[in-house]
Amino acid sequence: MGVWIDSELCNGCKRCLKACPYDAVAMRGDKAVILEHCTACGACIEACRQDAVKTDVVAREIPDFSDHRGVWVLAEAQGGELNPVSLELLGEAQELARTLGQKVGVILPGWDIAGLAPTLARFGAAKICLAEDKALATYRVEIYTEIVAELVAEYKPDILLIGATSRGRELAPRLARRLKAGLTADCTMLEIDPDEKILLQTRPAFGGNVMATIASRYSRPQMATVRPGVMQPCECEGSQAEIINHLVKVPETPAVAAAKVLEVVREAKRKVRLNEAKVIVAGGRGTGGEMGFKLIEKLAEGFGGEVAGTRIAVEEGWVPVERQVGQTGQAVRPELYIACGISGAVQHRAGMQDSRYIIAINKDPGAPIFSVADWGIVGDLHQIIPEMLTQMAL
């Protein structure tokens, strides 16, 4: 079983190399060859215009899923309050539903949730299924799996979106296994393939070094989790929703009986290590001292990120040494690095230039930090940061 290339037919165009998601095609001389770690996914077969890629893999038949309709969101509520990610997912669901010509539905399991239906309707749900029961007041993945699986089987959605919260990331895979459905985690982009009308799910892999687009052709619903903050909520005026109150019967499976929550503890923000922070706001000599770092702290707080400093800032005692970024400090690669009053000597750049996005704020337009920044503002951080805080309503 496998894929191979007929070298007689190969014209060395390298289309298959570019198409291979697994990097399993290489050139030997002017012909392409398939490497050992090929998974026979077939991407190269479609890409080849010479018909040179051969396979003995029988194409899998795609079952008829026409009875599955609707873009559904699994909403999350705690103590009578909706998790904001649920509304963000509804915003995205509206987009997808419009493209498909389908409707948006919501499943909301929990306790003390009846009052949330109007909000769900206002943010785009056309059908709202409430599964309300005291047994669901405290979240347990085993019980939630039973309840939600039952509802999905009943409503047969085409697409099911779940927030990638700590609970969603635990529930979604278990639910997917129960539903015999494919699942893609932490998607950052969702779109509908114009030809196949399937959900294309794009997510980062390999620590964010690669983006992968994934499809679930062989199962329904097409399930995806999405990180909080990625999608935009979208309010719709005067929309009407059908509200269904589902009668919950908690089944007594062994797994349900085996798990008990002893205690739920809410904590203030925990100490995060620099190399795990998603956002880092760093200051250098240009901050001018503690006043400047007060601003930096506020900005970091606004982003839910961490404060860091250059070697100079550490030596001046403005930040503790465990927050030093650079060649003699730590190397970091957050999603966003905001360099304030940092000129960007190579010794500092070495510790932060792999960050996904970099913002530089510096008075000197010739500062080397701008050469590694995505976006730069030439100006005084003492004016710019307060303005940022104001505009972020902090």
């Binding site: 060649q327 003699t328 190579v346 010794q347 750049r349 070495a350 080397p368």
Partner: protein
């Protein structure tokens, strides 16, 4: 069922490399500046079974050999030479006589704890008047009814002040010269044992070197390590291994100097391009790489000869001479590549430059080694 197994040598290298990256390198500067020996790291190495790498499991070792021992020492030397040198000594010179010639009781009291990192051993060869010239060793061992009395002094003793027991080269009969030499086992708590304060040295700052003194130290006869008068032969059984271990330490330091240089010359931009784009810098990197590769081949060859109990003293001397000289040159060039930053105590290259000097003397000075190597061809 098919046989799929890991290569233990590669796994040990990888494990030690991770240990060095995670545990040693982040603390190296602080340890070097404090001058305190890092006992916590030494204990961790013991817990991983590194100290027993050369010894069979029957005496509490890890069941390895010289090849695996030198692989581990290379990695450790990449992190911090003082830690590597002390560990290397504990594995080999400080314990080998005890392992080969010690009684079961001595093994229980000293060898097992030594391999667990609970006791530290030291190896005493050098005297003020006897370094390369071992025939001139003056520390005397006088036979008594039930043992020996040791008198004299040793110098440049690594772990001298911190050791719990010592393997000491003594003269049993001054008339016999080299044929009167013998190794003795002397615990630190033997009455009459004392030491000077720690020497202040250029490199390996957290190793403790000192003079030690023996004043009528009475020891039982089983503390004589081997057959009387065969001390030189005892030394010769491990001399090749000592030299190739020293070469392994040099390889580790060389690699550290090269890694730092490569990193720096990619990052440091002058005239609008990284300095690594300049041919004179490239020449330095090329020389470092070629010498490292050549040295590595020598070490890999000789460790296997030692493991297979083949005679290889000359090859070991060549390897020690070549790798340590190469590491000297690499640490010098690394400082040049770093420019003024290389001169700063904030960067590690200055430490490599200082620490490597230690390797020039241990295991035989190069002036003597060159002579003995040449003698092999001119005889």
């Amino acid at each position: 069922m098919s046989m799929i197994r890991s290569d233990s040598e590669a796994l040990i290298k990888k494990t030690m490399a991770r240990f060095v990256d995670e545990e040693v390198i982040p603390k190296a500067r602080e340890i070097d500046e404090s001058g305190e020996f890092p006992y916590d790291l030494f204990k961790k190495l013991a817990d991983m079974g590194v100290l027993g790498l050369r010894y069979p499991k029957s005496v509490g070792g890890s069941g390895g050999d010289t090849v695996l021992y030198c692989v581990a020492m290379q990695e450790l030397a990449r992190g911090l030479m003082s830690l590597a040198a002390t560990t290397a000594m504990q594995c080999l010179m400080a314990t080998n006589g005890l392992y080969l010639y010690g009684t079961k009781a001595m093994h229980e009291e000293y060898l097992y704890p030594a391999l667990k990192g609970e006791k530290i051993g030291a190896f005493q060869l050098t005297e003020p008047e006897a370094g390369s010239d071992l025939g001139n060793v003056r520390t005397s061992a006088r036979k008594t009814a039930d043992g020996y009395v040791i008198n004299g002094m040793k110098t440049w003793s690594t772990n001298g002040p911190k050791g719990d027991f010592h393997t000491v080269l003594c003269q049993t009969n001054p008339d016999k010269g080299l044929k009167g030499l013998m190794f003795f086992f002397i615990p630190t708590d033997t009455p009459g044992f004392s030491h000077s304060k720690k020497f202040d040295c250029l490199g390996t700052r957290s190793s403790t070197l000192s003079e030690i003194y023996f004043n009528d130290c009475h020891i039982p006869k089983e503390y004589c390590l081997g057959e009387e008068g065969r001390g030189l032969d005892v030394l010769l059984t491990i001399l090749a291994e000592i030299r190739i271990m020293t070469a392994a330490l040099a390889i580790g330091l060389h690699r550290a100097a090269m890694d730092d240089s490569i990193k720096y010359c990619k990052e440091r931009v002058q005239f609008g391009k990284p300095i690594g784009k300049n041919q004179l810098i490239q020449a330095k990197i090329a020389n470092m790489a070629v010498n490292l590769e050549a040295g590595q081949l020598m070490v890999d060859k000789v460790t296997r000869l030692v493991r297979d109990k083949k005679s290889c003293l000359n090859e070991a001397s060549m390897a020690k001479y070549f790798t340590v000289e190469s590491a000297c040159s690499a640490s010098d060039e690394a400082m040049r590549i770093h420019g003024a930053y290389g001169y700063s105590m904030e960067y590690s290259v200055q430490r490599y430059y200082r620490d490597n000097r230690f390797l020039l003397y241990g295991g035989g000075t190069h002036e003597v080694l060159q002579t003995t190597i040449a003698r092999q061809y001119l005889k």
